[in-house]
Symmetry: C2
């Protein structure tokens, strides 16, 4: 059958599939979406129509005089993922999924698909194949659930920070010099000047803590690292917060409350998505456990039988050893000063360690933060100790002449957190269009 | 007096200045912020402490035995914008601003400033001087108000779109080829590949309308245009929306409701900020007026005596002529197809014009959008008509093989809207750290 395309015309959705139920028996509705399945069994023709909220069965029996003949003819010709609008009547039927079906009075085909789709829901495809066909991949129920959870997460974080006197800010992603003095930056051709993509909102959010006191931002940042792990991307969405008139301990206690708020919101608003994902989110007790770096090293050396020296970074395989002893969300505080960036404040009583922390979920690092240096002279000294040139930080240092309060904050990886929430095995699953050293498309 | 710096220690703010009032006479509070003014009049020493929410007067009378001697000595030595914490008692006093003052029991100096600050609140400084000293500039009341309004605007938009079944998305800002085929892109050195900064979320949001149906994003985009106007920047925050199973008219009616929702939220939550800014926000009646492009050209030619041909773009000076006849928010619909990008759908009954629109506020263009082409063959034809190579759009075109619904959307300039809301005369005032061809710092 040669199926013509029709225009949307005046036809508009009255409902999502999730709005419908057997209780509305006899009600006329207009639904729209994609053909997920299509079957003809003798005198019975039906298809599953899916939309962003779920799916329902559209059934045309040959002997049903309510269904126009052209619709009876059309249904067997519908291809998988064709785009259709259906005007129909709800009919309660215990045998149908959800206890009802839609009897079609009008079916419009709005668009068709290629003959052989490269992905089929429910079969296992390589992640790269999925990403190469991302639009189709994302239409599958599991992926719809991941990004619904992300949406609720975004709103819950913003709600928490708004309620707790934070101002949302937007800082530039094009920067004139290398923040943090990092070498792993993407250069940009900016007219006739040198510029880079920002690897972190760090310096800008610090400056803004001297204006709005408490600030937050959810925005992309960029890392030109040739990492090929399941936890690293070149374009990363981060949540940055910074608090004026505060130190590390204010950040620790504020952020753990933010996390609990977000987990509660997801449990409340995403019950069906969590079911789809097979996830149970336990809301952790407050306060989170706080281990010092030294305690962790000690644990690794003794109970973990892991070879590591005080002062070394804790690598992922070390965290996997820790996994036996330290589960769920916990903080590791007081990292060696030498291992931390110039802007991290050393502890007053022991300058070898610093007012710094990581937030872990098991072996996965979710956030990093601490008290910042707020004294200009000391900051310049710290820059020099890190072999950085204070002249390159002129604009940032200027802010310390204008009245910089003590401040502290953190940077938190949205994508990594989304893998924790949804059980995704690879961060590329938790980003709509991931960017890696090898992937610039789609 | 040599004033030592003290650490924050255990001292934490109990209140913002805006929380205090004469009714709390006798209450002990801890406040913190910046010294905005400092006066000594005979036996009376006082300073104005400002924080993110406002300001209040801290008063030490020589003959008040409650004020320790060291505090009496310290106050006259405080410099402008020094960072202080004050533990004190509220004392109702009709002569003080707001009807009360804080009698200091303890004053800690947390940080000092340079001797001669480059900006003083209430004096007129060049915008470039202000931007060069942005942290100091932003601390002034008017600027605090602008970005508080922005925060409320962000939340109100997201609330509206969440309530109206939109999913928040995050699309990549690093792209492998030139979207929209534009030439005004910033190139990036992406490992050993060619890449660019995204000039719009257009193609990605279109793709996502075939997954989540209704999507929105607030994110930066990048324009390498050497424009030097009060309305253009190189890094622009935009709100992008896209609606599946919809056309231009769905977008027009949805977005005008969104704007009304936002204006109502700002009126409700930012009364004091609007007062500071001298702004009254009238909530426009719905629906917004919809002029066709042809009507506007006609009006310009006849009533406006303005020389313009049908088919030409409407320049800013033409809009300024229109300003006499068309005020506030209005739509201009049905632009010439030739003037619009390849993805805009021509009208069915007259292909010379298209299902496109601009949203204007007087002479200022705030948004641009329309119905998109959703038929793959026609989209390829449109690309060719625009002298673009379909091969460069391979990844985007693929999405049209997977079931693309009819869809429509718009892109809306957050910064421009913020100038309308706050009365800012230049878009650089409405962005924390603006980026122009000449400005990459701070």
């Amino acid at each position: 059958m040669d199926v013509p395309l029709e225009s949307l015309g005046e036809l508009r959705k009255t409902h999502y599939t999730s709005d419908l139920s057997a209780e509305d028996d006899g009600k006329e509705v207009v639904i729209g979406g994609w053909v997920a399945k299509n079957r003809s069994l003798g005198g019975l023709k039906f298809f599953i129509l899916q939309d962003r909220e779920g799916s329902c069965q559209v059934t045309a029996k040959d002997d049903n005089p309510d269904v126009p003949d052209d619709v009876k003819k059309l249904i067997p010709a519908l291809g998988i993922m064709w785009v259709v609008m259906v005007k129909g009547k709800i009919r309660a039927d215990q045998r149908a999924p959800g206890g009802f079906e839609v009897v079609p009075l009008q079916v419009k085909v709005l668009n068709k698909t290629m003959q052989q789709l490269p992905l089929v829901e429910g079969t296992n495809a390589e992640l790269d194949t999925r990403l190469n066909n991302r639009v189709l991949d994302l239409r599958f129920k599991r992926n719809q659930a991941i990004f619904k959870v992300q949406h609720v997460m975004f709103n819950a974080f913003r709600e928490f920070f708004t309620q707790n006197h934070f101002t949302e800010i937007s800082t530039p992603k094009i920067i004139g010099s290398a923040t943090e003095g990092g070498t792993e930056l993407f250069p940009i051709v900016y007219f006739n000047k040198e510029a880079f993509l920002s690897q972190s909102a760090q310096l800008y959010k610090e400056q803004m803590s001297s204006v709005f006191e408490r600030v937050f931002e959810i925005a992309p940042c960029y890392r030109a690292e040739a990492s090929h792990t399941k936890r690293h991307l070149c374009e990363i969405l981060t949540l940055d917060i910074e608090m004026g008139f505060a130190n590390i301990y204010d950040v620790l206690s504020t952020f753990e409350r933010a996390l609990v708020h977000v987990l509660q919101a997801i449990n409340k608003e995403c019950a069906s998505q969590l079911k789809t994902l097979g996830q149970k989110l336990l809301v952790p007790e407050l306060p989170f456990k706080r281990y010092t770096y030294s305690e962790v090293i000690d644990l690794l050396q003794t109970k973990g039988k892991y070879k590591i020296e005080w002062g070394e970074d804790i690598a992922t395989d070390a965290y996997r050893v820790l996994d036996k002893f330290m589960k769920g969300y916990f903080y590791i505080i007081k990292w060696p000063t030498a291992a931390k960036p110039f802007y991290i404040q050393p502890c007053e009583d022991d300058e070898k360690v610093s007012e710094s922390f990581d937030l872990q979920y098991g072996f996965l690092e979710l956030a990093s933060g601490g008290t910042r240096v707020h004294n200009k002279d000391f900051l310049i000294q710290r820059l020099r100790e890190k072999k950085l040139n204070p002249v390159s930080f002129e604009d940032h240092l200027k802010a310390f002449d204008f009245g910089m309060p003590p401040h502290a904050g953190l940077g938190f990886g949205i994508g990594r957190f989304l893998t924790v929430l949804t059980g995704a095995q690879d961060i590329r699953e938790a980003v709509l269009y991931p960017r890696t050293p090898d992937r610039l498309t789609p």
